[in-house]
Symmetry: C2
Subunit: 301 residues, 2 copies
């Protein structure tokens, strides 16, 4: 298949590498210097997103936010201008579900398909081709591109129609953030009450409190290992998307809002680039107590 | 071993049954009529908690709240008056960790040991002898009573010294409540955004959002199965204990406080006796949208 790829950042670059090594012709566009390793592997550098679309059967976008997707697809010299009938746009960015549905309708008017396929698993998952991919699409389009997605991830689910992949991603980020916060409240409580947080964590692992977050990030919090992982400032961006979307949908996400405030406080104290499990530091500051003993300190990183 | 048991309610009654069927002599005290099946099985009915303590090597208490434990142990004709040197008090109620530490010191002055051994698993776990038990005690006392605890549960952990079992229980209830709330926010969001919540739940199960709560209670929320399980009003009581304890410890549990308010709202709308997964109904009211479709309604049960 002839694949286009736009958005060759920390995530997109290794993902594009998997696609070309998977035997697909790759067309790329980059505002800066195109990544050396992709060019050496045979990627064709194009002069605009439009040209990428003209020369590809399917174009993958992996850019930071909703306005970036809108610009690269529907802006001047954008993908939409070059995307002929029957071609597919695969947006792997994490953006607004509602905007995605609008974009999909706009592409459908040109006879093209939109697949939203946001990922989780971070840059490690991108490098190791172990991303989880939550897709929204028609079943037919999904089947056509599935072999390409399988080069980049391994837990690939068609959640529903266009937009539903982004909805699932938002739901994922809500649950992960709020579970992190829950584990942090519980462990700071346990530690300040004088118990050994590691033994409390272990006692809770068998029952209804058990989760991947308690297992992995609970341990991080106790061992003070805040190397990312997934950064506080990226989770902030995702919760912002959740809260914006909730406002559009006219609904309330009370604990998501409160947790966003705790991430904001985490960033205020220099934690933006730490792993998101560092939300525990904000609760420690509020408790005047750090897990494992000392008084909580503001940590500059 | 000669075991005393005080607090023969919905939990205590089946638990006492397991103890006597396990071959231990059982001494009970009850303000009302003593349970027929225990008397038939050979339990000795005593005239006061003091008498129960006099005739037992270890006394188990399973009563609703901190003041109830204080009254039955340290009140007139209470357990402490009958508990001679070397005897053990096993408090399986869910009460304040800080009060527990004080009670343990008071018993220690009389040469007696305090073991806090709160449980999770509800009345189903009590009946089936599958409770999880989080104990705080000296290792020696724990080893002495462990065979008795094993008659009532199967996931039995010595978390630390006296009070630490209660601390672990509070931590457990914080995590369970906040994870329930997280799953509820995510599924109401997904449903109102137009996705199928069951498919979203399934897509999320493999990744960092996965938890026992997403698995079991996420399904309950989608299938509208709010038969308890564990009741909203009992979880309210436990979060109240968490918030009181946090105030005593001088620390902040922001999302526990917010979630308690959502349980309060759930009770206000007639949900107090529903399973705690019914917290989703409060979020549905706030969203004007019920998972699966309709506008959210106030449900009287």
């Amino acid at each position: 298949m002839k694949i286009g790829f736009i958005g060759l950042g920390i995530m997109g670059r290794p993902m594009a590498g998997h696609v070309i090594r998977g035997g697909h012709a790759l067309h790329i566009y980059s505002r800066g210097t195109p990544p050396q390793e992709l060019v050496e592997a045979g990627a064709v550098v194009c002069g605009s997103p439009r040209e990428v679309a003209e020369r590809s059967d399917a174009v993958i976008t992996m850019v930071p936010d909703t306005p970036d997707v809108e610009a690269v697809v529907f802006g001047p010299d954008g993908i939409a201008e070059g995307l002929g009938h029957g071609k597919i746009l695969i947006d792997m960015s994490s953006i607004s579900p509602m905007a995605t549905k609008k974009f999909a309708r706009m592409l459908a008017e040109r006879g093209c398909e939109w697949i939203d396929a946001p990922v989780s698993g971070g840059d490690v998952g991108a490098r190791n081709a172990t991303l989880s991919i939550m897709a929204g699409s028609t079943p037919a389009a999904f089947e056509r591109v599935k072999p390409v997605l399988e080069l980049m991830g391994r837990n690939i689910t068609l959640v529903g129609s266009a937009g539903d992949g982004q909805t699932a991603k938002v739901a994922n980020q809500i649950i992960v953030a709020l579970t992190l916060e829950a584990v942090a409240e519980a462990l700071v409580f346990a530690s300040k009450a004088g118990a050994d947080p590691m033994r409390v964590r272990r006692a809770l692992m068998g029952g209804f409190a058990s989760s991947r977050i308690l297992e992995v990030h609970g341990e991080r919090m106790i061992e003070r290992n805040f190397e990312p992982g997934f950064r506080v400032e990226l989770h902030q961006k995702d919760l912002n998307l959740a809260l914006q979307s909730a406002r559009e949908l006219q609904m309330s996400l009370p604990n998501t809002a409160a947790t966003q405030e705790l991430f904001n406080a985490s960033k205020a104290h220099g934690g933006g680039r730490l792993d998101h499990s560092a939300i525990v530091k904000t609760l420690e500051l509020m408790a005047g107590h750090e897990i494992g003993g000392g008084a909580a300190k503001v940590s500059q990183t």
